[in-house]
């Protein structure tokens, strides 16, 4: 099996107020293409930080991150942006839709950025899949939280990413809506064969992934298969 993500000896420290704060300490793991992984741990343990490093949103203080065989730590910010556009999809706790774009336009952006063809029809198909065919021309402010998260799901899959990162995708949703969104996420993922990495507190969500990585105080404390 091919390795899509490999994290080697990664540490992250912050300098502040005369002391060094170590948020991640020598973390090692690798993820196979097509698998689903959840990262769990107590609040403040460094999950979001780890996710940011894996997705190339930030640079590690030490160690290397390889995504799709590309050493992220050796790329410039703009080069990493292109890597994200080609291979990575995101889902955020607070949806992060562009407020001045309609639902449809939000889904179209990653494709437009790549200069692809049939952008509109492909985006409409995705929005139909998440059940928002009637809300395509609405702005995020006109949608409920659940609807916004469904738009962001459509956007995350629009550029057919090889790997999808989700940070607390259900953190801002009620249980019922959460379940719907989770189901959609796994369905879409299954269909596209994307690698899925989810940071979550929600054990029910974590239990649906094949593998669970636990971290605590910046250390990887457990890495088990479900």
């Amino acid at each position: 099996m091919e390795t899509i993500l490999s994290v080697k000896n990664v540490s992250k420290t912050y300098q502040g107020a005369g002391q060094t704060l170590t948020v991640l300490n020598e973390v090692n793991f690798a993820v196979e293409a097509g698998s689903t992984v959840s990262i769990v741990g107590p609040s403040g343990s460094g999950k979001t930080t780890l996710l940011g490093l894996c997705a190339g949103l930030d640079r590690a203080s030490q160690g290397s991150v390889e995504l799709n065989n590309i050493r992220l730590d050796q790329l410039s910010e703009d080069e990493r942006a292109q890597v994200r556009n080609r291979y990575v999809g995101f889902i955020f706790q607070n949806f992060q839709l562009l407020p001045t774009l309609t639902a449809l336009e939000n889904v179209m952006v990653p494709l437009e950025l790549r200069g692809e063809k049939n952008i509109r029809s492909r985006s409409i198909t995705l929005l139909e899949k998440v059940g928002l065919q009637n809300r395509m021309h609405h702005y995020p402010a006109q949608l409920s939280g659940g609807e916004q998260q469904r738009v962001s799901l459509a956007r995350a899959f629009s550029n057919s990413p090889r790997i999808l990162f989700a940070d607390e995708p259900t953190g801002n949703l009620d249980v019922e809506t959460s379940d719907k969104v989770i189901k959609l996420l796994f369905d879409l993922n299954h269909e596209a064969g994307t690698t899925l990495i989810i940071v979550t507190h929600n054990m029910e969500l974590a239990s649906q992934t094949k593998r669970i990585i636990r971290i605590k105080g910046g250390h990887l404390v457990a890495d088990e298969l479900n």
Partner: protein
């Protein structure tokens, strides 16, 4: 599964960027427009002034000929010598002579008397343009009869009709026509002494031409081939100079008129430019806040793979687009304003101004406006490049670096542009740099005040005060505060408005002559030696005081320290001196100082008793400095052909603002008594009726004596000042309104900053009154501090201008200063409160949904 190797491709995808810029601006267009509205007026003013300049330049070109009326004019202030006569009579293909002098005329119908400028004309002058009269033919026919053309205002003032008679000296003329427009100089002098044309052949019989009379003669020449003028001039110039004759040509007039206008135009351009700069500061602050609000969107875009240049471009395109719209609106407005300018500047411009569209002026105004506002917009805009995608995961603004080395580059370019623009207008690097540094200093000082305020409030926070006060004060330094931006914009606006006000005040107080009290208000001049005593007696008969009676001798400088005019002209190292040789001095002689004079160096040496005595003269100190003359320097004066060697014996300070005859050069007694001279008598008439009767008596007995009623000059001066004041106010209006727009925009934008908080407070149950109080307190504090700093700045600037540019005292009146301060502070509060009303009047949820 195989995978492509990653290879970075930098692509801009400009089309997509345009689309994104369009989409991104969608929900904010009205706000974007608000930002840009602050430059509209500045650009409008620039376009209007540039257009005016362009039009006036072509108008001068096309009208110079009719201003001069001939191809060549030779002018003399004294009787021309027989040496040069043959030359004067041989020039040109057609010739005219005009002799002009001030004299009283007398309307026989109603005993009216009035000082006029008599123009005794022979020949067909003007060759270009015409003396416009009603009836039209009068301009031709009067030359052959004993007839006169009389200025329109005079006719109205004395209720005269064509066909009535006037007396000039001993000769009676029939009025042939009314002058509506005559070639030659216009303005103040023609208001004091309106023109009256008579045929030259009657001049001698008027009996007004006597020794010492101040008569100027103009010889007008028309050439069938005007191209030869240049070579004619270089041919005769040395001979003219030797005889003290001046010449004027169409080209020369174009140059001189152009030069005078360029100074005026420079001043107007700089005022417009300041309005634009003020607007630009508004733009920069607005965009800064706009970008702050866009951080989240930019971070999302970065997450999705937009690179830093693309992110920057999405916003640059918006700013350029909206800036272009603003500029075009500004240019359109400028064109509208341009149509009004000739009416506004009517009496201050040398020619009749057309209002043709000038594409050059429009594009100059547009480009200046777009470039400078873009540069200012770049200041906040470059930060877009640094917004990290990490922000999507962590909502803390601290991640955003608003510091950027590139900013320093932008600052440098802005300074360079401002200096460059100023240089383009003033053609002097020194002035350009002073201008740029003053603006920079004002900007820095205001920023310093704002930072200091922020620091002080934080450091000495009144923790024990009640909640509302604390909240109001805390708003000054909490994150997203508006302190710096509001203080700088309001402060600069206040500084500028203040400076314009003070300058106007200085200018007006400088020329305000008090017509009240016991100040003299009538001057009689051209009194002959023989008439001196009897005129004084006549005044006493009318119970008028003889307040001053002084002899006046006209003379020119021949040599200064053995250097003649031509030597000085070759040796440029001697500074300003050459102007001293061109000046016609009106000199008096006495051995004492008047009440308006004070010795600053040397002493008065007293009367000359023998021919061997050294003649020590006294010179006005400022003039001496200007022509680089000092105590002990030797000056030879030429008094109507007689050379008189003198030594500068003292320097005097003269208060020119008093209504009194004042002199640059004073001779001791015992030298000039026998020289050709006339006398001036200064008196005060208590009423217009007595003034009229006294003038009639003087004109009847002494037709050569001219009378100036200073009340008349005062009224004219008042009118001129009104016009200048109006122009200043008109131009200042652009800056003031721009300042207001910037203020409104800044406060409006800060509304978006404070919106969430206010809503939160509302949600937590704060009352309407409480929120109003907090808002009012914050804005009052900002407005008051900015206004105070700005006004202080303007006082400093005005003081410097008064001292170094206008040589006038600067005494600001406290009441207008207080009014200015109060209005700016109050305005800030009112606008601030007005803006928060949407928070107060609507349910919190609705506000949050709509505005965020």
């Amino acid at each position: 599964m195989d995978f492509e190797r990653f290879k970075y491709k930098r692509r801009l995808r400009f089309g997509w960027l345009l689309k994104m810029a369009w989409r991104d601006s969608r929900r904010n267009r009205s706000r974007l427009f608000l930002f840009i509205s602050s430059i509209v007026l500045g650009i409008a003013a620039l376009v209007a002034i540039f257009s005016l300049g362009d039009n006036v330049r072509t108008d001068i070109d096309s009208q110079a000929k009719t201003l001069v009326g001939a191809d060549l004019v030779i002018e003399s202030n004294k009787k021309v010598s027989s040496r040069i006569r043959p030359l004067l009579d041989s020039l040109g293909d057609q010739r005219s002579v005009e002799r002009t002098f001030g004299s009283m005329i007398y309307f026989t119908k109603n005993d009216g008397t009035r000082l006029v400028q008599v123009r005794a004309l022979e020949g067909d002058y003007p060759y270009y343009g015409s003396i416009e009269t009603t009836p039209v033919r009068a301009a031709r026919t009067f030359r052959n009869n004993r007839e006169a053309l009389v200025d329109k205002t005079l006719m109205l003032q004395y209720n005269a009709k064509v066909g009535d008679s006037i007396m000039i000296g001993d000769v009676t003329f029939a009025i042939a026509g009314v002058i509506t427009k005559a070639p030659g100089r216009t303005g103040l002098s023609t208001t004091v002494a309106p023109p009256v044309y008579i045929p030259l052949k009657y001049l001698d019989s008027t009996g007004l031409i006597q020794k010492g009379s101040r008569i100027a003669t103009s010889y007008y020449y028309k050439y069938n081939q005007p191209e030869v003028i240049q070579s004619v001039i270089s041919d005769i110039e040395p001979r003219l100079e030797k005889d003290g004759l001046d010449y004027d040509t169409v080209e020369e007039r174009k140059k001189n008129t152009g030069r005078a206008f360029e100074d005026f135009n420079q001043f107007l351009t700089l005022i417009s430019f300041i309005a634009l700069l003020l607007g630009c500061i508004g733009v920069a602050s607005a965009i800064h806040i706009y970008i702050r609000e866009k951080i989240a969107s930019i971070a999302i875009l970065r997450c999705l793979g937009v690179n830093s240049i693309q992110a920057f471009m999405i916003y640059l395109i918006q700013i350029v687009g909206i800036g272009l719209i603003g500029s075009i609106l500004g240019a359109l407005l400028g064109i509208v304003i341009q149509q009004q300018l000739p009416a506004v500047f009517k009496d201050l411009l040398p020619v009749q101004v057309t209002t043709t569209l000038s594409w050059k002026a429009i594009s100059q105004g547009l480009i200046s406006g777009v470039v400078i506002s873009l540069l200012f917009a770049l200041l906040p805009l470059v930060s877009v490049r640094n917004i990290s995608p990490l922000y999507t995961l962590r909502l803390s603004v601290e991640h955003v670096r608003f510091r950027d080395p590139l900013k320093w580059l932008v600052y440098a370019v802005i300074l360079f542009f401002v200096a460059g623009f100023t240089w383009w207008q003033m053609h002097s690097w020194r002035q350009a740099i002073i201008f740029t540094i003053s603006i920079l200093a004002a900007f820095l000082l205001l920023s310093l005040v704002a930072l200091l305020l922020r620091w002080l409030v934080r450091r000495f926070f009144p923790t024990s005060w009640n909640y509302l006060w604390r909240q109001g004060f805390a708003n000054l330094y909490r994150p997203n505060n508006q302190t710096l931006i509001l203080i700088v914009t309001i402060g600069l606006g206040a500084a500028f408005i203040g400076t314009l006000y003070f300058i106007q005040d200085i200018l007006i107080s400088r020329v305000t002559l008090s017509g009240s009290g016991n100040q003299p208000n009538m001057v009689l001049f051209d009194i002959q030696n023989s008439q001196k005593d009897s005129v004084a007696v006549l005044a006493k008969q009318y119970n008028l005081p003889v307040m001053q009676q002084v002899p006046i001798v006209t003379m020119r400088v021949e040599e200064i320290n053995k250097q003649t005019s031509s030597q000085v002209k070759q040796d440029t190292s001697s500074g300003y001196r050459s102007e001293a040789y061109e000046w016609e001095f009106r000199v008096t002689y006495r051995d004492t100082l008047t009440s308006s004079e004070k010795l600053t160096a040397g002493k008065l040496h007293g009367p000359i008793r023998s021919a061997e005595d050294v003649i020590y003269i006294s010179m006005e100190d400022r003039y001496a400095k200007r022509i680089h003359v000092n105590i002990g320097d030797h000056i030879i004066f030429n008094v109507q052909g007689t050379l008189i060697p003198t030594v500068v014996g003292s320097l005097r300070q003269v208060d020119w603002q008093r209504v009194q005859t004042n002199f640059r050069v004073v001779f001791p007694t015992g030298v000039l008594e026998e020289a050709p001279q006339f006398h001036v008598l200064v008196t005060r008439v208590p009423s217009p009726e007595i003034s009229a009767r006294f003038q009639q008596a003087v004109v009847k007995i002494y037709p050569n004596v001219s009378v100036i009623d200073l009340n008349l000059i005062l009224t004219v001066l008042d009118e001129v000042l009104d016009k200048i004041g109006f122009v200043i106010r008109f131009m200042a209006g652009f800056s003031i309104i721009t300042g207001l727009i910037v203020l409104i925009a800044s406060v409006l934008i800060s509304k978006f900053q404070r919106m969430q908080e206010s809503v939160l407070l509302r949600t937590l149950g704060a009352s309407r009154k409480q929120i109003l109080f907090i808002t009012a307190l914050e804005y009052f504090f900002l407005g008051a501090l900015a206004a105070a700093t700005g006004i202080l700045l303007s006082m400093g600037a005005s003081w410097a201008l008064a001292k170094y540019s206008f040589n006038a005292p600067f005494t600001p009146h406290p009441v207008p200063v207080l009014i200015l301060f109060a209005s700016i502070s109050l305005l800030t509060v009112v606008i601030g409160l007005f803006n928060s009303r949407s928070v107060l009047n609507k349910p919190p949820l609705e506000v949050l949904r709509k505005e965020v």
